[in-house]
Amino acid sequence: MEYSYTISGGDFTHAGEASSHLKRILKSLNLDPVLIRRTVVALYEAEVNVVAHAWNGKVMVDISPDEIVIVVKDAGPGIEDIERAMQKGYSTASPTVREMGFGAGMGLFNMKSNSDSLEIKSDPGVGTEVRIVNKIS
């Protein structure tokens, strides 16, 4: 099953809608609650990153009997130093974003700890692509 969603940069009002929708789908498939929570947390963090940093983005979800594959691709400033961005506490979020309780430098860390596999590819000045895979056991 495939689903796709669009994300607009800066639109915090709708941040998390893809995650909420995916959660309902995964629940209807009767998947393990822990797997569902891990998957939607990872997607939520990816969504918030697009809203907080990029201009726009797209979420593509593919659910097969074995795994859930999520690709979040954005057009945006990209990540200069992915290794550094993965470090807990490192953030380039704006003060406005921080006031909302985001930008504590935990997003990518949360994404990693809630996915079985996380790949990040980024082209500075062009955009970022994040691929999250969670196995269905």
Binding site: T13, A15, R37, E45, V48, M100, F102, S113
Partner: protein
Amino acid sequence: MTLRNLIAELDLRVFAEGRDLDRKIAGGYASDLLSDVMGHAQQDTLWITLQNHLNVVAVASLKDLAGIILVHGQDPAPEVLQKAVEEGIALLGTPDPTFETCARISLILSRDEEDSR
């Protein structure tokens, strides 16, 4: 301890009842950082926060939290309340600040645990 009993004991304001007032509360989590809550809050815990915007409801819903307590006598922003009702998330309020709220909840939960032994 159920949500209903805790609301009565702490005299909390109820802005939205959520899906089930009789759901059990596993504990609490206090934080104003959404990614912290995303990373660390456990399911069925009550989230104590002063953050009052839409994303709070999204986080509570995605993490299967028992509910949200807004501190400092805040009324929820109208869109926050609407979203909480839509998502079936309990949205509560207290005039107290975070520390006092947590202390009282902690006391009630530990007493409840002793009683049930």
